[in-house]
């Protein structure tokens, strides 16, 4: 009997299933259309398409867009908010800013809970956690009565300064539990015990609206898998890049807000690690957009300012992903003043690029790549054919004629602008954070990533590009190789001079107890739990803080030295003499799950020249004319085989472009590694 690990990534269009046989290390994949009305259908049909018997599955992990989609479409159950008297509009006032600075008709999305369903009670805690006003219980019960009458299914309890003392929120919860049995309740002091009312409230409200929905979905999926014979825990990928079990999802549903988006970034991290790279930039390029992520020192960049819609933040550590409107279907166009632009508008799936023959007549990146011969006339193993003539017409009419360029120059211009836009986006996520792209590997995946990866790497002076074996389903792999992970934090706002080492130790110990408790709830034994302490600091007077690791028992001065270094790396300067303030204590708890070993293949192709199956004319920036370019089939390449560009490698779901002065080698993991060679132009 085999033992399988199964990972399922549910995307907007496809549900990908990735199966690893633990005994043989064989990989099997399946791709089935997603079923948005009930994502479970596609999951079950994908599992059967992959020929897996659930009884033989040892671990089932899942990245889902259920929460993200609910936030995008705002299909929520009846919900209400209970808050401190005088503050029900904190949720609507937000920080007051607009995303679009100049378009007075482009509004920020309205508050998730309308004003009529935001009810107030008398109570007040001060900044140090002292109770200024006890909760007025008579009022609280009256409010509960109104919520009952309105049939709410979930409630967010959000009191001012509750991060400093949860007593009043807890009492409100008890009253609601008595008065409204079965209703889901989220308190701000439990969901995000951090200072700043709007960010805490917003996160808590997101948890409240997602709880019944996501909790219910996960419960049903778990039951379904159990029926099918699966005995283990259903593991859910969360925004921070770890997994959590079904049980904790019931409490912290909002942690799944970016579940589906995180998978690609995790896959990038794992693939880079497999190839020996600690620093990697992930380029996940699809039809309409590109997700860019960054791994440094083996750790994924995380952010605490994640949101689906501008102005509605979810402030849990989430993998930092920059999404830009550049994909295979992005439109090339000329603006009113005659400048050549690329995206963010896209031809989408319908009509799609002109060459798709579905009525699109505007040129896209896909059309330009086809004109240049870098993309062949067939996609998805021949299931789809592209029309060269329509692509030429679109590029010529849309770009060539108005700019006075011939067809090839026009197509090449389109791609160069698209690449430059992506390079700018990579600069924003790397240079802006103090990272030098030259120290990174570029992991190119998604349907279109490998078409552009090498050119982008040259633009950014990145020496190496990695293309995984199945670029189109790489994200599912990301779900497979993760640990249980929780991020906890507590506020500790104090100037360094007033910091008390014993008190800090006590606070960390409390966090650690809570982390172990959560892990136990998830069935992770203590000996498999590793705990990493962090301490967030800032120069006194600064508004943002930086977290640095601190080992148990280490002196606070070590952490301060690390803070100065990190500040200099990230912001290019340090102020050794300036007073430092402690902001927050953090704890990352990792429950290590047993990992399968991939087995490297033998490099059988080392001395065998790779054989192209054909050649076709293709246009490269280095040559003025089209040149006959060898075309390879990816499945026919053996590990160790080396190809010198210009060349094109066609796979089932993706095409790898190897430009001139670039070499491509298939490594022992089946990954194509491209080296960008120095040129002397």
């Amino acid at each position: 009997m085999s033992n399988y690990r199964v990972a399922v990534d549910v995307g907007g269009t496809f549900t990908d299933v990735f199966v690893l046989d633990e005994d043989t290390a064989d990989v099997n994949v399946a791709k089935v259309p997603s079923t948005p009305h009930d994502p479970m259908e596609a999951i079950m049909s994908g599992v059967s398409a992959a020929n897996v018997d659930l009884e033989n599955v040892t671990l089932f992990s899942h990245g889902t867009t259920v929460a993200t989609n609910a936030l995008i479409t705002r299909r929520f159950p009846p919900v209400a908010m209970v808050t401190t008297r005088g503050f029900r509009d904190v949720l609507e006032i937000r920080r007051g800013t607009r995303d679009d600075l100049w378009d007075a008709y482009n509004d920020v999305a309205p508050a998730i809970i309308p004003r009529r369903d935001r009810l107030e009670v008398t109570e007040r805690i001060d900044y140090e956690g002292r109770v200024l006003q006890e909760l007025d219980e008579a009022e609280a019960r009256k409010v509960a009565g109104r919520l009952r009458a309105r049939g709410v299914e979930t409630v967010a309890v959000c009191f001012i300064n509750a991060y400093a003392n949860p007593a009043n929120e807890n009492r409100m919860r008890e009253i609601l539990e008595e008065e409204l049995p079965g209703v889901s309740i989220s308190t701000s002091s439990e969901i995000l015990p951090e200072i700043f009312e709007y960010e805490r409230f917003s996160t808590t409200v997101a948890n409240a609206v997602l709880s019944p929905l996501v909790g219910g979905y996960v419960q049903r999926l778990g039951a379904r898998l159990k029926e099918g014979g699966y005995h283990g825990d259903l593991l859910l990928l969360h925004s921070g890049g770890g997994v959590m079990t079904e049980a904790l999802v019931q409490k912290y549903a909002v942690r799944l807000a970016a579940s589906g988006i995180a998978a690609g970034a995790i896959a990038c991290q794992r693939l880079a690690a497999l190839c020996g790279y600690e620093n990697a930039i992930g380029l996940d390029m699809g039809g309409t957009s590109t997700d860019i992520s960054l791994v440094y020192g083996g750790e994924m960049r995380t952010t605490k300012e994640w949101s689906v819609e501008y102005g509605h933040p979810i402030c849990f550590p989430s993998i930092e992903i920059l999404t830009i409107g550049a994909g295979g279907g992005s439109l090339a166009w000329i603006d009113q003043a005659g400048s050549l632009r690329n995206g963010p508008q896209s031809a989408g799936a319908d009509p799609g690029p002109a060459s798709y023959k579905r009525g699109g007549d505007q040129p896209t990146n896909t059309d330009a790549n086809l004109v240049l011969g870098r993309l062949g006339g067939e996609l998805v193993g021949g299931a789809m054919t592209l029309d060269h003539g329509l692509a030429e017409t679109a590029v010529r009419d849309g770009i060539g004629e108005p700019l006075g360029l011939d067809l090839l120059d026009a197509a090449s211009s389109v791609i160069q602008v698209a690449n430059a836009n992506m390079a700018d986006a990579v600069r924003l996520i790397s240079i802006r954070r103090g990272y030098d792209p030259r120290d990174f590997a570029l992991v190119a995946f998604g349907g279109a990533g490998a078409l552009h990866g090498a050119a982008l790497a040259r633009e950014l002076s990145i020496p190496t590009v990695l293309v995984p074996p199945n670029p189109g389903i790489t994200s599912a792999l990301g779900c497979l190789l993760v640990d249980v992970r929780h991020d906890l934090a507590t506020m500790y706002l104090r100037p360094l001079a007033e910091a008390d080492a014993d008190e800090i130790e006590t606070e960390f110990a409390k966090l650690e107890d809570e982390a172990r408790e959560r892990m136990r709830e998830e069935g992770v034994p203590d000996e498999h739990v590793t705990l990493q302490r962090t301490i967030a600091m800032r120069y006194l007077g600064q508004w943002r803080s930086l977290a640095v690791p601190i080992a148990p028992g280490a002196s606070i001065n070590d952490a301060v030295a690390a803070f100065h270094d990190e500040h200099e790396r990230e912001f290019t300067y340090r102020r050794d003499q300036a007073p430092v303030e402690i902001y927050q204590l953090g704890l990352r708890a990792i429950g290590v799950t047993p990992k399968p070993e991939f087995t490297p293949k033998e490099l059988t192709g080392r001395d065998k020249p790779a054989q192209p199956y054909t050649t076709r004319p293709a246009k490269w920036d280095e040559f003025t004319e089209m040149v006959a370019t060898p075309i390879f089939k990816r499945p026919m390449l053996e590990p160790g085989q080396l190809i010198a560009g210009p060349a094109v490698i066609e796979g089932f779901d993706s095409t790898v472009v190897v430009p001139p002065n670039v070499t491509a080698e298939v490594d022992e993991w089946g990954i194509i590694r491209m080296q960008i060679l120095e040129t002397h132009s």
């Binding site: 800013t97 009312e197 050549l340 700019l403 430059a420 290019t572």
Partner: protein, 662 residues
Amino acid sequence: MSSQQRTYTLDPVTFEVVKNAFATTVDLMAEQILRTCHSFVIYARDFSSALCDREGNTVMQGSQDIAVHVGTLHFTAKAMLEAFEGDLHPGDVFAVNDPYVGGTHFNDVSILRPIFHEGEIIAIAQCKGHWADVGGSVPGSFDVTAQEHFGEGLRIPPVRIWSQGVYLSDVAGLILSNSRAPEDTEGDLKAQAEATAVCEREILRLVGKYGVETVLTAMDEVQDYVERLTRQRVAELPDGVWHSEDYIDFDPNRDEGLVPIKVKLEIKGDQLHYDLSGSHPAVGTFLNAGFGSAFSGVVAGTKTFFPDVPLNSGFYRAVEVDLGPVGSVVNAPWPIAVTGFCAGPYEKIMNACFEIWSEIMPERAMACAFNLEYLLVGGRDGRSADHPFFMWYDWMVGGWGGRNGKDGSNATAPVFGVGLAVQPLEGQERLSPVITTGHQIVTDSGGPGLHRGGCGVEKGGTLSECERTVMSYCCDRARSITWGINGGLPSIPHGVWLNKDRDDARFLGAVFSNVSVSKGDTFTRPSAGGGGFGDPLERDPASVREDVIDGYVSVERAVKDYGVVVHETDAELGLHEVDTAATKRERDRIRGERLGWLEADAEDVARRYREGELDTLDLVRQYAVIVDWGTGELFPHTTEQFRAMVRRRAASHWAPVGAGVA
């Protein structure tokens, strides 16, 4: 599409790539400053970044920059170039805050770094940020009563702070020691200087890749590109002349009466020509604008109707501005106090532009938006042993004007800077002995209209352990109330109340300085909503009912402002329904009477206000009578002006009696 033929010298790819790289570069500067600044004002996004060419013209500005700095950065760069002509060296960094050479106000300090290639200056990186304090007589450097700059704060003409890479600590010390918060100020100075170094690094990278000639050409052609884009849009509009005016509340050096700011726009071909002459002479408070900020108001007001056109000096070439004679409230020379330009002329110019452009582009029309306001409570914090200095420095969001087909935006940052984020009260409560009593939307604050103005908010606090504490307020529009257009009505007056609803209640008005306050005092103030768009009697009664359910509009004002009679049918569920017959009757009654209200004896109306028979909103929206909201004393001249305004913007648009529909 044939009109899109380019005449640029750079090839289309290089042009687009370098243009986008310039945009990334200024955004990199912005990100750096945001993450390292000390001033909470900068942190709340009161800053801007620019790449200027070697002549000081702006090539690119940050995509999230504050509106109020738009159109001023090239003045500052040119002032620096002029002051140090022939004496610029690699590694030099300069500071300027002088509003009389095109800056905004003293708190806004620009840090400039000329960028060199092989000994030649090729560009200037600039980062301008609002420092929390630059001296003067009032904490935060906002002295409302200042008449000359000497009371406002330290004036910094272009000075060198780094000379060829060496920090001139003596010069910096002179500046920093004039601030109430020298450590934070030095932190900001260094953070800004580092941000300009980020720009230098990126520009030199582009020079390395494309060559210096290409980069220099691109800086010119990016300006040409924006100019071309702007001119094409303008050429598509009809030629013509438009007028608007808006008002500051009063000039303390004269009798009561609104202070007019006049804006005339002429479109001729592809050129916009603004003329602000006829505006009132400079006022006796700090609500005056220097030429830089007045120009900025025009640019920002115009840009709101061209949201997708990038901003740089190319845009300014298509927008000619004649500010009229020196000495007016929109063209104040040294040493007239100008720090309050933001609450004074700036937003008046912007909103006057909104009214003009609402006629030219009705599909983007918007009524007046609430006026920027800053409340400052400063003193000693008695909660800790050394009684440190504290500043509770607060600004609020408010309502934006009703729009064509759409209500105004509720609780939104001021048009002066829509990226200006409000501060979290939980942070404020840690830093200052002030306990916030509420932060909420003000019912009935949106100007009534077919499309209602957005709602304003209210925030106040109770002072706890404070000592030697004073309060100052920088605002306007207690009398020149946020107005509607196309028949829409005004919103609510601004102004701070001390100990409201107590025996010792005082209305302090919308501009005051250094009012002493002590432990146990409470204060609060509303921000206005936006003005209404269109006749409120034509608003769909169902929309009014929804507003009542959400508490944006009260049952009482639904009747008075909209003529809509709404009854609560279930308090638990919050259900309401419209009484259709009563609504028809009420609307007919109001239609028949409302023109008469505008003619009612103003003194008699003021008396009825003092006696409690009429309230503030009755006066503003029905009778258009302006009084001192604390004492009820009538301002006769102000009322005359206000009534003329309401007749022009509202009454003249109402359908004749009998022609309307309920």
